[in-house]
């Protein structure tokens, strides 16, 4: 009996010690991050209520915090890599700033975000850009149905004469070559097309839009898989090159500049930015001549173009890969986010979201942040607002 008790006791002790120790759980380290917002010189509003959105890049946790009267906010987050985005709306002026890829790995961290005034358009907005193209029934690539739709988001009739459509020279998924201009808030285009007219020739009523297409034909006839009929497009971009055709029924845009002698097309995965501005046709060349831009490419070749200051740009949309961009092509004030289509040749487009109806016209959402303003992978719906 005594033996049994001894053995039991011994066994119990052994079992107890075995299970008494718990492995050390990794300690979750938190950091006190202070976000300090830097306001632009002409900022007159209060420093509080700037919304700071943070997102952990790896595990996608996110949150929001507001600044206090000193323009500071604090948040306790795990160690990791974060993107911070600050925004505040003060009347028609929208302020925003970003700080991407901050490494949080110390007990305390100070993140400084510079806000810049981001002017939300009061006239035209880019409603949708269809760059992805589609596949033909024979499984060949087809991109001639690309187009951009520009929408009158105001309550007055606007005139499209002199409206300029550009795409950025830089690519959102590769290293930039024109950063020195982006830092001065200027954007370098890779092509410049303009709506012709003396000033009052092409009226667009509130809630209506103009469509600029690559080829103004009914693409569904040539390619059963194409989602659009561009035979009623307002204008087409025509390159005097054997790979393009000039459809007489659709007037041509004026081609001012292109970085290539070949045909103009949008990147089928959308790895670039599109933007619009408006300058009277007669003044355009003089305007361009006073805004030259030069840079050297990595292979040593020098390239010249033009640099368009952001203050002239009415609206812009930055598109990248679904996971995000490698480098921005716009200064933050033009577009603080990005939108995307999953792949090329899908027949999908990026489309601005509907905000509300007012007096019989639809108003589209514009906060100069395409992550929030655009629907990725939308079905092309030219001239129709999807609610």
């Amino acid at each position: 009996m005594k033996q049994l008790i001894k053995k039991t006791a011994l066994l119990s002790i052994i079992f107890a010690t075995m299970f008494a120790c718990k492995p050390d759980e990794p300690e979750v380290l938190f950091s006190d991050v202070t976000i300090e917002v830097e306001f632009p010189e002409d900022y007159t509003d209060s420093k509080s209520d700037v919304v700071i959105q943070w997102e952990n890049i790896t595990n996608k946790t996110s949150g929001e915090v507001k600044t206090d009267n000193d323009g500071k906010a604090t948040v306790k987050v795990e160690y990791g890599n974060y993107n911070f985005y600050a925004s505040k709306k003060a009347d028609a002026v929208f302020y925003q700033g970003r700080m991407d890829n901050c490494a949080v790995s110390l007990e305390t961290l100070l993140v400084e975000i510079k806000l810049s005034a981001s002017y939300v358009s009061t006239t035209w907005v880019i409603k949708e850009v269809y760059f992805s193209g589609c596949k033909t029934p024979a499984d060949k690539n087809y991109f001639k149905d690309q187009y951009i739709e520009i929408y009158n988001n105001s309550n007055e009739t606007l005139y499209a004469d002199g409206l300029i459509f550009c795409k950025s020279y830089d690519n959102t998924m590769t290293d930039n070559n024109w950063d020195q201009y982006k830092e001065k808030s200027e954007v370098v285009p890779s092509f410049i097309f303009q709506v012709p007219g003396s000033g009052k020739e092409h009226a667009v009523e509130p809630g209506k839009s103009i469509i600029l297409a690559d080829q103004g034909i009914n693409h569904k006839q040539d390619n059963a898989n194409s989602p659009v009929d561009m035979s009623k497009a307002d204008f087409e971009w025509y390159d005097d090159h054997k790979l393009d055709v000039d459809v007489p029924e659709v007037p041509n845009l004026i081609k001012h500049y292109s970085s290539s002698l070949s045909i103009s097309m949008l990147h089928t995965r959308g790895y670039e930015g599109y933007y619009i501005l408006q300058i009277p046709v007669a003044e355009t060349q003089a305007f361009l001549d006073t805004h030259p831009a030069t840079t050297t490419m990595p292979n040593g070749k020098s390239v010249t173009s033009y640099a368009i200051p952001a203050k002239y740009i009415i609206d812009a949309v930055q598109c990248a890969a679904p996971e995000g961009y490698t480098s921005t092509v716009f200064p933050t004030m033009l577009d603080a986010g990005y939108t995307y289509c999953d792949a090329a040749w899908t027949g999908k487009c990026v489309q601005r979201k509907f905000e509300k109806d007012e007096n019989g016209r639809a108003i589209l959402q514009d906060t100069n942040n395409s992550t929030n303003d655009f629907m990725p992978n939308a079905s092309p719906s030219p001239r129709v607002v999807v609610k």
């Binding site: 024979a138 029924e249 081609k255 006073t290």
Partner: protein, 918 residues
Amino acid sequence: MTNKKWNKALLILCTVILFILMPGKLFSQSKKVCFSGIVKDAEKKEPIAFASIFLDDLQIGAISDEKGNFRINGIPKGVHNVSISFLGYVPQKIQFNFVSDTTLQVYLVVQTLELDEVSVIATPKGKSGSAILIDKTTMEFIQPTSLSDIMQLLPGQLTQDGTLTGRAQITSRQAGDNANTALGTAIVGDGGVPLSNNANLQNIPVDMRMRNRNTVNRGVDLRMLSTDHIETAEVVQGIPSAEYGDLSSGMILSKAKSGKQPLEMRVKANPNVKLFYVGKGVNLPGKWGALHGGLDYTDARPSVRETLSAYKRYSMQLNYTNIAILAEKPLQFGIKMLYMGTLDATKNDPDLTPKMDTYKATYNRMQVSGNWIWRVAKPWLNSLEHSISYDYTQDVTSRMLTVSPNGVVPLPTAETDGEHEGVYLPAEYFTSYKMTGVPTAFFSQLKGKNIFSSGKNIYHVLNWGGQYRHEKNRGKGFEYDLLRPPYPTSSTSSRPRRFNEIPALQNLSVYIEDKVSASFGKNNMELIAGVRFTHMPGIGNRFVDLHQKWFPEPRINGWWQLSNFQCLGKTTVIALKGGYGEAIKFPTLDMLHPEPDYLDHISLNYYSQKQANALLWITTKTNERSNPALKPNRNRKAELGLNIQVGKSKLNVLCFYEKSSEGFQYNTHYYWYEVNKYRSDILFDYKPQISEFQVYKDSLLDAYSVPVNGEKVIKKGVEYIFSTPVIKPLATSILVNGAYYQTVYDESLPIMSRPSIIQNGKPYRYVGVYGWNRGKTQSRFNTNVWFNTHLKKYRLIFTTKLQSLWFTHYTTLPFSGVPIAYFGVGMDKPQEFTEADKNDPTLRFLVQEFSSSFFKTTKQPLQIGIDLKATKEITGELRMSFYVNRLMFCSPLYYSNLNTPLKIRRTPYFGIEIEIKL
């Protein structure tokens, strides 16, 4: 030809003639002796038929007959070096003092690894000049897959892996490479018969697959040439004899296998190549001579996993040699037939591309040549030699493909200039094309030799002769259905073209050269002075710089052995050598007759939404692209060298300088033209006529490429070779060789270029004229140390090679970015580009900008590798070899001139082979 050149040529001619007329008992019969004998196998004591007996300094010789007997008449009295050789045996070299008629019994020993001395290194040939000789033993030891592999034996060249992926283009004495060096290296066989590539037109620039095998204007692709058919190869990178022409860089001279040989089979494998060779030579009964034949089949794949593309090579050689008696004098003659073919085929992965897409390129080449040497041995003529050859190639590329020109594309269909209606291509169609090139070449050479002496111990060998070549491409050319063009989206419009309509290329040359050897006491000297004159008969008078002109090429090589004294108890010999020469490569058929440029401008593209109403109006313009000012490429070379021999150790150091400013290349030529364009303000609801549109004129810039003499290449450097005899305790001999090369690649003509942009609504209207186009200087310095260990007891020889490339530097030649002048629409000639123009809003697009690091030198650091090669004779009949390149390799991290961190990594490569001799 300028006066200056005529004077120079005449001067040389006079010098040569002076030597001939130097006082001396020229035609004295009593001073000549006869050398005869018999050549036998040392072991079997059987006679060796068609063995070569050669007196190097006099350049006369003979071959033994079917009974092994030989006879050479007309040898001047005195000391001469005799070399007796036959493939498969160790060559015998004797120095003999010929005082009277001599008879000799020569015994040759079979070449095996059991012998005391086996040499597997390339050796300098001759005294003057810088030719390198590679004998069969050396060639076999490096286990080559093609002739390009033997180049790695030269100082300054790097180890080759022996894969057959990609073209093998010759490089010579340069860091980097250029097409003109490959084009300018002649491949010459027995009897001076060249293997040329001048009439090759097989190229479609837009076809990516053809690009990799394109050898137009690039010389011969050495991959095609198997080394198994040749006995020895001689590489001349310096100044060749005046006997050889149509070359600018150098030449590779090969001697074909001949005579009775055991049945030989060779099988070689490495990760990319499988090679099979079988050859045999027999003595035909009686006096019917000897016949040697060989077959080679090689299969190469770019990688082990790649089954869709392959390169197959097959070749065959038949060589008949015999000796007869004509007017009591030996007449040595032979007929050789060489056939080679390659098959290049790519299949598409059927799972990836369901459409029909095939590519096939076949190449079949047959060269038949005959030559005879009649050893007259008279005082007024020592020997007369003639060779004649005909070379026929069939080069067929055929392609079937589906074309889907993304969207609807217009197609012009006219073949004549003017305006006409065009056709829109369907969105997708199936087409095929075929390019058939049949380059043929006819060659004939007559050569004579005179030997005489003009004093005690002074001998002259006068070598004179002439050559004629005729080359033409007789193929049907580029054929395809005009309504279904294979590359409609390419920026260069083209049309089908018949090659056989292009006139032939002819080349006629004469040369004379004197080789003087003299000895004064302990000093010996040799001077080879010659001149060559070439003319292109039949060249049209539109080529003003080629028509009815004779081009001289002086070639001088000298050698002077200073003294012969004792140093460190060993016999020391010091010799100086040097030379100057000019070598000219004549333009190829493609350079003289490029296909015209076709401009198809779309004057109206009325692509109505109603297809039936569409109207396409094209203006076609043809531009002639041949250049009437085309000249040959003249390369000027100079060399200076020092040879020191102490005992059996030798040191050769050679400095060289080469300059060519007329290398062939294509430059872009811009011009502007006026064209009618049409527009309409009204929409038609029917198909309109062109007359219903409003005409307006537009002026546009266009460009096409023109063949010019625009490449400037300057090569300079130093080559060194140091060899030791066998170090007995280690059974190893050491060879150290290497070179420092500095090469400049630049332009000798201004370059026109413009930004490819639309500016101010139109394609950019100005063209900049620049004095620069990314010219560069490249230099490198390498040392190879070969430890050749020969263990005769084990019948094994292996080499440990330490290859170190000390540095490689690349520097882009500096440039300000500003054009010298500019040309534009509406201007009849270029205008100077001023300082003020740099800020002009339109002209500023012509100024190029470069980052500060663009012109910095990129320095690639040290790369060291160790290679191993070994050959073992398992039995008398069976031999096995293997090699490993870069068994060990290392190179440190470095930064490019743009500050990118880089590291050179190279993986080992190996191969194995088995050879059977029965």
